[in-house]
Structures are given as structure tokens and as C-alpha cells.
């Protein structure tokens, strides 16, 4: 093909002008930023684990890869061809592991970040969007932000109907739980201690994203102090004397029943130490995204069995079918509910 000057100029100007025209429409993201809507979205780069999970639930085939490659036991609960997509690193949170040049080489139409919408992440989003020229959407990963996040993402990738469908499903899951326990005053709700780490002495303070699931349903014994994660002493746990202990650490869950130092704690005496399921993604704590919705049902049933007569296995199967696009077998659900590796 012969290229003369005129076709060259026409081609170049089209390349320069076309995206600009296509990006005229914008959508307001979770942080109030105006994000240009890509002309066509076929490839989305997830900035961190919550974004990868969030995008996977709504539009799995758009996911370019995972911040960290999924392990075999996690892939079992994901679509085979999507769950095995490569590791691409992260460009948010604590430390970037993705190189912006690598991000550009993957040619994403959109970069998606789900999580905190604080000024730090807003400025990060603005900088990356400016540097790469790729629209960067920042969505809120908290429970009361998830529905709006689905609508925004639906609009951004040109699937508003599906976004709306997921938004409503999310709202229904949250409102079912909150409405049923609405009649129970704060003081009457069980006092829960959230235990992390092999010794069970790391916990989430009041307002921490780590205990959002627990604080929606129960009293967090460590809620008196606001903050993130912190270490506490066994003495302090004895003083709090929680009714229920929720943990994500299977070593702690296995050992606490035989540890004499923990023996006087009410939750241990009553056998109410519960290990959270975590496949393919954590049910109560991390990543802070839609994966915690099923944890909300799990925890509600544990704390208020009379108010939640539904079969947890059926709820789990429905949730996995809708959000993870797989239908686990009974044996698989057993394994998930046991919470072990």
C-alpha cells in the first residue's frame, strides 16, 4: 500500500481526534471524579484485588489478569479460563507492583480501582489517568457503596442493565439482613471479638474496613477505639469477655479451645469461636469487596439463628452462581464452610 502525505495526515488526525470525540461522555465515579466513558470496553486493568473481584462478578471476560495469580483451591470456584488469567500486579494500596509501562503494554480500555475513596487514592487515580491517558475509575468498596459502584461500572463498560441487576441483588442481600435485625437494639446485639493472627491478638478497631461485616450485625468489643488494625493483650480480651469470636486464622481457631489462658472467655467456654470461610475470597474481612456479602449472611445466621432459617448451603450456592458464575457441588460447599485450606 502506498502512503501519500494526505492519507498519512488524515490517519494521524483521526488517531488523535477519534478517542477525544469518543470520550465526550463521562460518568461520575465513587469519589465524585468525572471519568470519560471508553468508546468500547474490552480490556479492563484491575488496580487491586477488590477491583479484580468486583469486575469479575459483573463482566469476567473483561478482566485482563489478577493482582496475584489465583491458587488452585481458589480457581476451583472461578470460571476456569478467567480464574487462570495471569498475574499483572497492582497499582494501588500498599506499594505498587505493576509497572505503568506494563499496564500500557496490556492496552486496557479502563483501569478500575475499588476501595477507599480518600484523597490519597483520588490523587493516585488522577495521576495514573493523566500519565497513561486511560480512564481510571475509583469506586467505593464499602457495603453502602457497592450498589452505586455496580451502576457506575455498568455505565462505564456499556452494560447498564446488568449493572442495575447486580446493584439490586446487592441491595437485597444487605437490606434482608439489616431489616431482620433492625428490631434488635445495639445493646442487645452479641458482643463479638474479631481475632486475626496466629495468636488471635490482632483485631480491627471501630470503623475499620476489616470489621465492617461484624459491625453491621453486632457490637465490636474493640469498637470503643477508632482506627484500623491493632494488637491487644489477652488481658484486654478477658476484660471484654466477648460472647462470640470470629477469626480468619485456622491455627488460632484450632488452638484456642485448648489454651488455658483463653479458657475463661465466654465465647470459648460456650464453644462460639467461628472460623470464617475464605474460598475463593474471604467472607468477613479481605479483600474488602462484594465477596463479604455472603459473609454477611453467614454471620447473620451464626448470631441470630432464629431470624435466619434459610439453608446456608442454598444461599452459598445462589451467591456463587450469581457472583462467581460457578455452581459448587455439596462437597465443595462443605469445604468452603469448613474454612480450611
Amino acid at each position: 500500500m502506498r502512503i501519500d502525505r494526505r492519507t498519512l495526515i488524515a490517519g494521524l488526525s483521526a488517531a488523535l481526534l477519534a478517542p477525544r470525540r469518543a470520550r465526550a461522555a463521562t460518568v461520575t465515579d465513587g469519589a465524585g471524579r468525572a471519568v470519560p466513558v471508553p468508546a468500547r470496553t474490552e480490556r479492563v486493568f484491575p488496580a487491586g484485588p477488590p477491583a479484580a473481584i468486583f469486575l469479575y462478578t459483573l463482566a469476567p471476560e473483561l478482566l485482563l489478569g489478577w493482582p496475584r495469580a489465583n491458587r488452585a483451591d481458589e480457581r476451583e470456584f472461578l470460571l476456569p479460563d478467567i480464574g487462570s488469567r495471569p498475574e499483572v500486579g497492582r497499582i494501588t494500596g500498599r506499594g505498587n507492583t505493576a509497572n505503568l509501562e506494563v499496564v500500557l503494554a496490556l492496552k486496557p480500555d479502563l483501569i478500575l480501582d475499588v476501595g477507599s475513596t480518600s484523597a490519597t487514592y483520588v490523587s493516585l487515580a488522577d495521576r495514573v489517568q493523566q500519565q497513561t491517558g486511560i480512564p481510571y475509575a475509583l469506586l467505593d468498596g464499602r457495603f453502602d457503596g457497592i450498589a452505586a459502584a455496580y451502576r457506575t461500572l455498568g455505565a462505564l463498560i456499556g452494560r447498564p442493565a446488568q449493572g442495575e441487576e447486580f446493584a439490586q441483588a446487592t441491595e437485597k442481600m444487605v437490606s434482608t439482613v439489616t431489616q431482620r435485625i433492625g428490631g434488635i437494639s445495639r445493646e442487645q446485639r452479641p458482643r463479638v471479638y474479631y481475632a486475626r493472627g496466629p495468636r488471635g491478638l490482632e483485631t480491627g478497631l471501630g470503623g475499620s474496613i476489616n470489621v465492617e461485616t461484624i459491625e453491621l450485625l453486632a457490637q465490636n468489643v474493640a469498637g470503643g477505639t477508632r482506627g484500623g488494625l491493632a494488637t491487644v493483650s489477652i488481658e484486654q480480651v478477658l476484660l471484654w469477655n466477648p460472647d462470640v469470636i470470629i477469626t480468619i486464622d485456622q491455627d488460632f481457631a484450632a488452638n484456642v479451645r485448648n489454651d488455658p489462658a483463653w479458657a475463661p472467655v465466654k465465647a470459648v467456654r460456650d464453644g462460639r469461636v467461628h472460623l470464617s470461610p475464605k474460598l475463593p475470597f474471604g467472607w468477613v474481612d479481605f479483600p474488602p469487596c462484594v465477596n463479604r456479602l455472603i459473609g454477611l449472611s453467614w454471620l447473620a445466621k451464626l448470631l441470630y439463628p432464629a431470624l435466619f432459617p434459610e439453608d446456608l448451603r442454598a444461599l452459598t450456592r445462589d451467591f456463587y452462581a450469581r457472583f462467581y458464575h460457578v455452581t459448587p457441588s455439596d462437597a465443595q460447599i462443605d469445604r468452603v464452610l469448613a474454612g480450611r485450606d
Binding site: 500498599r94 494488637t231 478477658l238
Partner: protein
């Protein structure tokens, strides 16, 4: 400069005893003095305590082990620091100068990275400290030099930096939601998780290392002289140096493995002890041990009692240690001029 030994040792012992009384009576869980006496008395006589079971539990299984661990770790770090300051003839040396803490840190973060249990994490930390110092020693001795002490310290600094980079790499690769906070907490140091089961693995190495250093106390005095002078006095400086380094490393690694990284104690307490009884090692080592135990006990009592949330020990020791160290430097300036 000689100072009377017994009054100085008495002060150190007084600090420790006072620390013990305060530590046992103060804490998040309310325990009255009467309940405390009751629990200890009934345990000693074999009778049934009248105090509630929860109080007995706190005193014997929660606060008791933690107090014992604080004393052991404080004493161990102070003794190791004292021995190293003598061996390296440098008042600014702390027990981790040869990489014991950095090695333990790398061992511990690797343990957390591979999701090992508590025993695995502490075992790796202990081994990491020993292996790091052994490596420093072997490399240091391999490099022929007229000043073996200087080469050893420099090798320790360099290997320490390399291990620090290793810790950074593991943190970078760790899961940011679960493992990274656990690593951060570990590196800040805490005695929050001490149980009775932790005491024996701590006591064994600490007792052994301290006993070796106490047995060598006269020779450490001579080791404080320049190498050729010590040799002229008929001392086999090479093997002796290995023995001192091995003993100090054993106690440091065991302490760091149980408590995480706690700076300052091994640096500051030897100076306090020297101010009390002078630089003579036979007097200095027991004084530093008592003083170190009391010092860390006071700090740990603040760490666990001040707020519902633990204050990391590494932060408290630095906040309290820094002003002291600046004061110490000011005093040294006066002596120099």
C-alpha cells in the same frame, strides 16, 4: 573509675522488685493487691484461692508469664549489650550490631509469609538470628585485617543492611491484607502474646548465654584492651571472642524470637549500669541484668496497661530511650573537651 558495687547492685535490684510489684498489680484486667496475694499464697501452699477463677487465670497464665518474659528479655538484651560494648570497645554498640535482629526479622517475616504457626515463626526467627551472626563472623574472619574488631563490625553492618533488604522484599511480596500487618506488628516488638509455653524456650538460651558471659566476666575486662595488649597478657583473643559473640547472640536471638524487635534496651541499659557500678565487668554484668529486667518490665507495663490497644514495645523503648541517649551524648561531649 571504681564505684561501690553493692549499693549499685542494690539500686538495680530495687528497680526490679518495684517493677515486679507494679507489673503484677497494674493491668487492663482489674486485680486487687489482696486477690494477687491470695492467688500467689494459695498456689504456694497448695490451697484453694478465694479469688474468682478469672483473676487466678489472669495472674498465673496471662500476666505472670508476660512479667517473667519481660524480665528475661530485658535482662538478656542488657547483658548482651554490655558484653558487646566491652568486646567492641565502643559505647554505641547494641546487641544487634552483628545482625542478630535483622536475621531474626527475616526469619520471622518468612515464617509469616509462609503462613507458619507460632512455633514455626519463632523457630525461624531464632535460627535467623544465629545464622546471620555466624555468617557475619565467618565472613569477618575470612577477611584478613589488622583490626579484626572493626572488620567484624563493618561486616555486621553490611550483612544487616542486606538482611534488611530481604525483609523489605518479603514485605513487598506479602499479602497486603493479612500478612503485611502481621509482619509490621512483629517488627515493632510486643510481649502481648506470651504464654506459659513460651517461657521455657526463652529461659533455656537466655540462662545458658548469660551463664557463659558471667563465667567469662574477668576475661571480658581484658578483652576491652586493644587486641595486641590482650594477647600480650596471655589471652587467646580469637576463641574468647567467638565464645562471647556466641553467648550474646544466643540470648539476643532467643529474646528477639519471642518478643520481636526491641531496640534501645541493649544500648541504653549498659550505660545506666555503668553509671551505677563503673565499668568493671564482674560488677557490670549482674547489675545490667537486673536493671535491664526492671527497665523492660516498666516499659511493658505501660505498653499493656495504658490503653485498650497495645502500644508496640519498639515504639515505647525508642520514645523513652532517645531523650536518654541524647543526654548521654551531651555528657560524653563534656568528657571529651
Amino acid at each position: 573509675m571504681t564505684r561501690p558495687f553493692l549499693p549499685g547492685l542494690g539500686v538495680a535490684l530495687g528497680v526490679l522488685v518495684l517493677g515486679l510489684i507494679v507489673a503484677f498489680t497494674v493491668g487492663r484486667y482489674p486485680v486487687t493487691l489482696a486477690e494477687l496475694v491470695d492467688v500467689i499464697w494459695s498456689r504456694a501452699t497448695g490451697g484453694q484461692p478465694t479469688a474468682p477463677a478469672a483473676v487466678e487465670n489472669v495472674v498465673l497464665l496471662v500476666r505472670g508469664p508476660r512479667v517473667v518474659a519481660a524480665v528475661l528479655v530485658g535482662a538478656a538484651l542488657a547483658v548482651a549489650g554490655t558484653a558487646f560494648q566491652g568486646l567492641f570497645r565502643n559505647p554505641l554498640v547494641s546487641p544487634d550490631i552483628l545482625g542478630a535482629s535483622s536475621g531474626a526479622a527475616l526469619g520471622a517475616v518468612l515464617g509469616i509469609f509462609f503462613s507458619l504457626g507460632v512455633v514455626g515463626i519463632e523457630g525461624l526467627a531464632f535460627l535467623g538470628g544465629l545464622v546471620a551472626v555466624a555468617a557475619v563472623y565467618v565472613i569477618g574472619s575470612f577477611l584478613q585485617s589488622r583490626d579484626p574488631i572493626l572488620v567484624l563490625v563493618l561486616t555486621g553492618v553490611v550483612i544487616g543492611a542486606l538482611l534488611g533488604a530481604g525483609v523489605g522484599l518479603v514485605k513487598y511480596l506479602a499479602d497486603p491484607y493479612n500478612q503485611l500487618p502481621a509482619m509490621t506488628f512483629w517488627l515493632l516488638g510486643s510481649l502481648a502474646a506470651i504464654t506459659v509455653a513460651d517461657l521455657l524456650p526463652l529461659l533455656g538460651p537466655v540462662a545458658l548465654g548469660t551463664a557463659v558471659l558471667l563465667a567469662l566476666r574477668w576475661r571480658i575486662n581484658v578483652m576491652s584492651l586493644p587486641d595486641d595488649e590482650a594477647r600480650a597478657l596471655g589471652l587467646a583473643t580469637g576463641p574468647l571472642r567467638i565464645a562471647i559473640v556466641a553467648a550474646a547472640t544466643l540470648v539476643t536471638s532467643a529474646s528477639v524470637a519471642t518478643s520481636g524487635i526491641i531496640g534501645w534496651v541493649g544500648l541504653v541499659v549498659p550505660h545506666l549500669a555503668r553509671a551505677l557500678v563503673g565499668p568493671d565487668f564482674p560488677k557490670l554484668i549482674p547489675t545490667a541484668a537486673l536493671l535491664g529486667g526492671g527497665y523492660l518490665l516498666f516499659i511493658d507495663t505501660i505498653a499493656r496497661a495504658a490503653a485498650p490497644v497495645e502500644i508496640p514495645l519498639g515504639i515505647l523503648t525508642a520514645v523513652i530511650g532517645t531523650p536518654f541517649f541524647i543526654w548521654l551524648l551531651a555528657g560524653m561531649q563534656k568528657n571529651w573537651s
